[in-house]
């Protein structure tokens, strides 16, 4: 690990000032100053020499203001420094937003969930082995313009949606799928105060600039997430190589509003298969106004993967992903609430 200076943030103003200092024109991922929350991603990537910040700003002292879990009044607000385990174990989250509770509970390990924060979780970086191993020169995300070793390498874990000819690295998280499905708003704190953006506008598909992963700028921090409405009929289904403590091969976040047997509103988001948190809006449109049956679930699943592009080792994700979507829909439609 390379040397760094370390300071603790006393308040949000101080934190964003410290993080903006010396930002130059680097993308956020290469900014000289990086925020430290749970550290489960940052310290790991610093040990791998993938991330090389010169300054660490420890934002954990902001937890007293930024970690509240506030359901109620038909909406939800989650502080960005709330720990994954605390949100997953919250009774009202489990009751009114099971897709959120399960996406958190099925991620990582008990130890990592105790450490990792919600804000850090959505900002976690890909698990692409060519990205994480700096002995590979050709990674457009790490070394822009150097090529992509995964294209013709071992790409079993890579993305089939949202890919470009520059990068096929999978967005690895789970919680983000729940947020994008429920139209969450991200509260961002920066020098000019706070602003809200739709969660769907936080991440950027790789396109020709895979080194730019989000729309956040150096000196900006996620301070909270908020969601309108309650979504008791929602599920997160995750298929992976082992039953626990593993990243998704394919996952689905589903939320339905069913009244008198008719689907009034439907949300479908996909994980483990795309370069960014993925909302399948064409698939959702097929559900609205319909009564649920298995044939409908299969049509929706096909629509969700209509644009998927597999490569040598990861084409299986398209068939697997369809079945995950169909099964998750079945679970959501039939769950007792």
């Amino acid at each position: 690990m390379r040397p760094f200076s370390y300071q603790r943030a006393s308040d949000p103003d101080m934190a964003v000032r410290a993080l903006a200092a010396g930002a130059a024109n680097d993308p956020l991922t290469k900014a000289a100053a990086q925020p430290l929350a749970g550290g489960t991603a940052l310290i790991d990537l610093m040990k791998l020499d993938v991330m090389r910040p010169a300054a660490i700003v420890d934002i954990n002292p902001l937890a007293h203001a930024w970690s509240a879990i506030e359901p109620g009044g038909g909406s939800l607000r989650l502080g960005a420094l709330a720990r994954m385990s605390d949100v997953a174990a919250h009774a009202e989250i489990q009751r009114s937003y099971p897709v959120i509770a399960d996406s958190l509970k099925l991620a990582a390990s008990a130890q990592l969930r105790n450490m990792a924060t919600l804000g850090g979780n959505v900002m976690q970086r890909t698990r692409c082995n060519y990205f994480r191993d700096v002995s590979y020169e050709n990674c457009n995300k790490r070394n822009p313009g150097s090529g992509c070793a995964a294209m013709d390498g071992v790409n079993r874990m890579h993305a089939v949606l949202g890919v470009s000819d520059q990068c096929i690295a999978t967005y690895p998280g789970d919680f983000a799928q729940a947020l994008i499905a429920l139209d969450a708003v991200v509260e961002i704190t920066g020098k000019a105060g706070t602003r809200g953006i739709p969660f769907a506008q936080l991440h950027k598909a790789p396109g020709s600039t895979p080194e730019i992963e989000t729309t956040l700028q150096p000196g900006e921090l996620i301070s909270a997430f908020s969601i309108q409405g309650r979504w008791p009929r929602s599920v997160y289904l995750k298929a992976r190589d082992r039953q626990s403590y593993e990243f998704a091969l394919s996952s689905a976040a589903i939320a339905l509003d069913v009244q008198d047997g008719t689907i009034r509103d439907a949300r479908v988001a996909l994980g483990g298969v795309a370069t960014v948190p993925w909302r399948a809006r064409e698939a959702e449109a097929l559900l609205k106004g319909q009564k649920f049956d298995e044939a409908l679930a299969r049509r929706v699943a096909d629509a969700a993967f209509a644009d998927a592009r597999g490569r040598r080792h990861n084409s299986f994700k398209i068939g697997l992903g369809r079945r995950v979507v169909a099964r998750a829909l079945q679970q959501a439609a039939t769950m007792e609430i």
């Binding site: 489960t40 310290i43 790991d44 420890d58 390990s109 105790n114 626990s244």
Partner: protein
């Protein structure tokens, strides 16, 4: 050649040797106390060591460390508490699990500076005098290890698993202990140990 040297060899202690070789722990404190005032960088110059006070197993320990030092390295290399193990050093294996403010965490991904002011409990802090903690006793009773390398992490994780209320069934124990890898695959016996210790821990 002499009796002396052979007797020295016979009392050779691997742990003492390793600890001596690690060497740099507990150097004299020359730097000023670490700034507790949050506005002041604790470690402004990355090339200089910084003073930190860690509370470990109920005792305050003052250390002079590099800012990059993790809690795991502070425990093992500076405090000679070698019970917590370094397996992967990337938060994947769980061998370094300790409790911080009663929550289980991986100490290899926790900066020592970020743990200042918090209560760190390691495997060395679990027993009371000569009595093993119920979870330690349960691991012995159930033969819940072979090589033993992952065991301190397993035991710390298991204590927290029980206290979180996640030891109610074998399925729960397996799910909530999945962050601790055992390459000897002692898993069935680990599950049995957690089941045995759970009622006693919840009682007391």
């Amino acid at each position: 050649m002499s009796d002396k040297s052979s007797s020295r060899t016979s009392t050779f202690d691997r742990r003492a040797f390793m600890a001596g070789a690690a060497g740099t722990a507990l150097v004299p404190m020359t730097a000023r106390a670490a700034a507790q005032d949050a506005n002041v960088p604790v470690a402004r110059d990355p090339s200089l060591p910084v003073e930190v006070t860690l509370r470990v197993n109920g005792k305050d320990k003052r250390l002079l460390i590099d800012a990059r030092t993790t809690v795991l390295d502070a425990l093992r290399e500076h405090l000679k508490l070698t019970g917590s193990k370094k397996g992967c050093d990337h938060g994947q294996c769980g061998a370094c699990t300790v409790l911080i403010d009663d929550r289980r965490v991986v100490s290899c991904l926790t900066l020592a500076l970020a743990a200042e002011g918090q209560e760190i409990t390691t495997i060395e802090g679990l027993a009371t005098d000569d009595r093993l903690h119920p979870m330690q006793q349960a691991f012995v009773d159930n033969d819940a290890f072979q090589c033993g390398y992952c065991t301190p992490g397993q035991i710390m994780s298991a204590v927290a698993c029980v206290k979180e209320g996640h030891a109610g069934s074998e399925a729960d124990i397996r799910e909530y202990m999945s962050g601790n890898i055992c390459r000897c695959a002692a898993y069935p016996n680990i599950v049995a140990a957690v089941k045995q210790a759970a009622p006693e821990i919840m009682k007391g």
